[in-house]
Symmetry: C2
Subunit: 144 residues, 2 copies
């Protein structure tokens, strides 16, 4: 195969992606910590800021067991960032939703994520377009 791991070029690209991954995570955790949130709490809050979501659906998004979501939402709820609402159609379901304050925190969190700007600012628009297309092809994403 052309892109085997022994290929030095492929190896180099994999190393670079590893660096991107490490930097992305470090920045995300750091941004979350600025708002006294863990990475997981920040992820859930960001999710709920977009759209109220049943507990089970949150677990699917995070790819973890549903039982874990209870505690995570508990901690966010204790801080007034999230609330549980009943589902009118199914009384078993609880829908977690960001409060007004939670949406504000989510917005500030997003704003403090510098990863978007700093590194990409070094590329021209044309280069960013090429990067986008390569990443899309690499990930097998349809170019809409």
């Amino acid at each position: 195969m052309a892109a085997s791991r022994t290929d030095p070029l492929t190896f180099e690209v994999v190393e670079l992606i590893g660096t991107v991954v490490a930097r992305y995570h470090a920045e995300y955790e750091q941004a979350a910590a600025k708002h006294a949130l863990t990475g997981t709490q920040a992820r859930v809050l960001a999710l709920l800021a977009v759209e109220p979501t049943p507990m089970r659906r949150i677990a699917q998004r995070l790819k973890c067991e549903p039982s874990n979501i209870t505690g995570i939402v508990d901690r966010l709820e204790a801080r007034g960032l999230v609330e549980r609402r009943p589902d009118p159609n199914d009384r078993r379901v609880k829908i977690a939703a960001a409060t007004e304050e939670g949406r504000g925190t989510a917005r500030r969190l997003r704003d403090s994520l510098d990863f978007a700007r700093e590194p990409l600012a070094q590329l021209s628009e044309e280069e960013r377009r090429v990067l986008r297309d390569l990443l899309q092809r690499m990930l097998g994403v349809e170019g809409r």
Copy 2:
């Protein structure tokens, strides 16, 4: 600034990088689990397979507190994958090193990381070269 977050193109690239990060992590954890290791344990083992390393240096590489390394190395040592050696130059220092078995596990772990091949195989050599250069520029890495 040209590459602000409100720029749709930049937003698209950031989303793609987020996808890469998520996929990379999922694959890494999965590969580690195949060898009954956690992600952190796999990371430390991979590190030590390259080079024996003092405890404190491991903490620096992982960007965590040195006290945590004790337990992680304990668990790897209990499974015979790692051993502690004295430092001849400084009797305070303990150097963690992968055992023969540990190096074997690290190698099999690396081999089971398909992330390198699968996605990049979809790009031509020329495209991989362009991707490498863009990532290097983005990360502010000198082109060797």
